[in-house]
């Protein structure tokens, strides 16, 4: 033991040996490593002073802050600010039985607090408060990366170092100072400690960056905004963290604006009734988009099953190239059905058929000459059943009736799909569809709760809603397996969900021209597979002549072979740049995440005996 002590002493006495015990970290010098605005604010608001010599002076301990201590100090101060904000928010929310009952004033107060402290919030509180903001606001907020995730200096980003050797900002780019709106805290809770109002940061020109050009989607949104100027409050921006000025936010229309527009809009009595219904019963998360789309685009509503294309319940006709033509949403009054017995001992089952002549001509076969397709034919009887009031025709074809409430749900979904496309959220059809479907299902679930039954839905929609409510994992798996099939192809099994595709593209830096070739070949093959699959179904239900089906299948194969030869000899050009695609997928990822969050919140609200102690 004595030998060891002597050896250690000798080692420490040796010149040049590391002397850890004698090491004293030098004082932090803000001239060498300038502090950003957030760091300055945290320090000056908590008993520290920034001296002119660059040192950060601790006014309580009467000493300068050491360089090594600065990350820990900033992390601790951010954590304190986060805690103070959460306590203030908690003081507001706990005055109510449920967050849903917050008054608009208190809800705005919570939003303001969250906005002010978003920069110090980590992933978890950000996720918890997302329901308080619209999609556009979240897009702006999400530009602020989480900087202080936990009370951990390891996870903290150092202040931006603007050393003299650092590369100067590109002078060719115009410098746009960030516009910051002063915040006026609406709450004052002195019992929770000293709450210092945040002051706008001073933006240094070196740290400011150029505003990105507005995306086409943003431009589209701006054209839609017709009633009131944007009222989305400015987001807390400190130059080192969120330098980009926010794109113009879309107008916010109130429910009263929407109701007034619908009351005086160019709609029939039936169309107006549906719009009023969805305006009152649609889930909250989709209302801003619903209002903007209806007021901004003025979609026409038509009740005509022959104009829905291959869709059974509702279709959308929107000529993007001709913006002066208003989009048209067509609603089917009811499905055309034939009942078929597949096999000797099998029960009869209904097959639903599209009415649109175009849908049949795309298949290469003539539309069957069924009485139910002809409007002038008189039904032989009328019966009530799961498909509503069903008209039965002499040739045994039938036409059911969709209820007004079901049509309202379909109309809601179509309007939302239209709005998402208009605002540039449709890069992934899967994400857009999922978002709109979630809104429709929540709308139907709300009606089910009010009515105490689901007879207003047709049997297929009833099964879908029941499965979604009670066995959501199974229903989701079945739905997506169906969406990935060639008949539907809402979910592209080659690309996957939007964020997975985006991550893959970033990893592989995929070749755009090759990607375009693959996409074109796959689409040609899918068209053929879809056509052959549908022809199979039609033969099974004995609706078309097998010979004409065979001819059509041969034509489909020939078309695919021709397309394949043409594409491989002269590959198609890139449709969109990879940057645009990545941005579009990012936006699609946002709405996919929002759909999941909204559905999760609904499921948690339905849970019996909810307890935070769980």
């Amino acid at each position: 033991m004595t030998c060891v002590v002597i050896a250690v002493c000798a080692l420490l006495a040796t010149p040049g040996a590391p002397r850890a015990a004698a090491y004293i970290s030098p004082a932090y010098d803000a001239k060498i490593a300038p502090l950003d605005d957030l760091s300055r604010e945290l320090l000056t608001g908590n008993g520290y002073a920034l001296n002119e010599d660059g040192r950060v002076w601790d006014k309580i301990n009467e000493s300068a802050v050491a360089r090594d201590d600065m990350p820990f100090l900033l992390s601790r101060l951010a954590s304190a600010r986060r805690l103070r904000a959460l306590l203030q928010i908690n003081a507001v929310i706990t005055r109510y039985d449920s967050e849903k009952n917050l008054t608009p004033q208190d809800k705005e107060a919570v939003r303001e607090l969250v906005r002010q402290n978003w920069i110090v919030f980590g992933i978890v509180p950000r996720r918890d408060f997302r329901p308080y903001f619209s999609l556009q606001e979240l897009e702006s907020l999400d530009r602020i990366p989480p900087r202080f995730e936990k009370m951990s200096a390891v996870l903290m980003t150092d202040p931006a170092i603007d050393s003299p050797t650092a590369a100067p900002p590109p002078t060719a780019l115009p410098v746009v100072p960030a516009t910051v709106k002063p915040w006026l805290p609406t709450l004052s809770t002195p019992e929770l400690g000293v709450f210092r109002p945040w002051t706008p940061p001073v933006v240094s020109s070196a740290a400011a960056v150029t505003a990105p050009p507005p995306s086409p989607a943003t431009i589209a949104v701006a054209t839609v905004a017709v009633v009131t100027p944007p009222v989305v409050p400015a987001i807390a921006t400190t130059t080192a963290i969120t330098p980009a000025p926010q794109p113009p936010a879309p107008a916010v229309l109130t429910a009263a604006d929407y109701e007034e527009f619908v009351a005086n809009g160019p709609y029939s009595k039936e169309g107006r009734a549906l719009l009023e219904l969805i305006g009152k019963r649609a889930p909250d998360f989709c209302l801003p988009l619903l209002h903007r789309t209806v007021v901004g685009l003025i979609p026409q509503i038509v009740f005509d099953g022959s104009r829905t294309g291959a869709s059974l319940r509702a279709g959308l006709v929107h000529d993007v190239a001709n913006p002066l033509t208003p989009p048209t949403i067509t609603l089917s009054p009811g499905p055309v059905m034939v009942s078929v017995k597949k096999g000797l001992f099998a029960e009869r089952s209904d097959t639903l058929l599209p009415e649109s002549l175009q849908a049949w001509s795309e298949l290469g076969v003539a539309r069957p000459d069924l009485d139910a397709f002809a409007t002038e034919k008189t039904p032989s009887s009328v019966e009530n059943g799961p498909w509503g009031s069903v008209r039965v025709y002499p040739d045994a074809s039938r036409r059911g009736t969709y209820s007004t409430f079901e049509q309202a749900g379909e109309l809601l979904e179509q309007i939302l799909l239209l709005g998402l496309a208009q605002e540039g959220f449709n890069s992934s059809p899967y994400a857009a569809r999922r978002w709109a479907r979630t809104a429709r299902l929540l709308f139907s679930a709300r009606l089910q709760e009010e009515f105490g039954q689901v007879a207003f839905l047709d049997p297929d929609r009833r099964t879908e809603l029941g499965g979604w409510r009670d066995r959501s994992a199974e229903e989701d798996d079945l739905t997506i397996a169906s969406w990935a099939g060639s008949r539907v192809q809402i979910y592209d099994p080659r690309r996957g969900p939007p964020l997975a595709e985006r991550a893959r593209n970033q990893r592989q830096d995929s070749d755009c021209s090759r990607e375009a070739l693959v996409a074109s070949l796959v689409e040609a093959a899918r068209r053929r597979a879809r056509r052959v699959g549908i022809l199979e179904t039609l033969i099974e239900v004995k609706l078309i002549d097998p010979n004409s089906a065979k001819e059509s299948a041969k034509i489909a194969e020939a078309e695919e072979a021709t397309a394949r030869a043409r594409l491989t000899s002269s590959p198609p050009a890139c449709a969109t740049s990879s940057t645009d695609r990545a941005e579009g997928l990012r936006r699609s990822g946002l709405i996919a995440a929002e759909a999941a969050r909204v559905e999760r919140a609904w499921r948690e609200s339905k849970r019996e005996g909810d307890s935070h102690a769980r």
């Binding site: 169906s482 699959g533 199979e536 239900v541 594409l567 499921r603």
Partner: protein
Amino acid sequence: MRASPILFVLLAATPLHADWLLDSTRAAAAASNPGQATTAVPATDWVPYEPPSRLFRADLPSEGWNAYEEEDALGPVVRAFGPDDPSGALRATISVRLIDRDTPNFMSAKDAVEAMRQSRSGREVSAVRPLRLPVGLARVFEIVEARRLPVDFGPSSQVSLHQYVAVIPRGTDYFLIRLVTARSNYLDFREDFVRFLRSFRPIGTR
């Protein structure tokens, strides 16, 4: 089940179980690399797959299956998409979820199996069978259900769907693994599903 003599005649020129997606992807690869052979890699080739969340690791066929992970209302879910059904109504899909206490409406594995096994008109459920896997003892059962597909587009006719469901307990949590196919061709995927299960390893227990 779906096959009629006329159908076989109709589709004689088309290989019934060739997936159009795999076929066209191969064609694109051949067009991009003109010198290379376009012959398919044998279907027996399997590769390990691990989702970005590193929830588990399992083997998947090297060709014809594409797996992705995403977050839905119940938490992270991994879906692997296999070949399309000949009718085009749905694509064979394996899904994997970890059900834990953070999952909305969490139920224990036993209760969840009973809830999933509820049958009704048009839905038949098999008995639960134990399946010994390297990761533990799984409970496996099958569900057969008639659904009209596609739900939103016509012609929409009744398709008999088949599900293999495996529940693999992991403490109070459990993995829920499901293979969805049409009943007409579910046996084509049975071996693939069992191999997937046998190679399944939660990352934390390796």
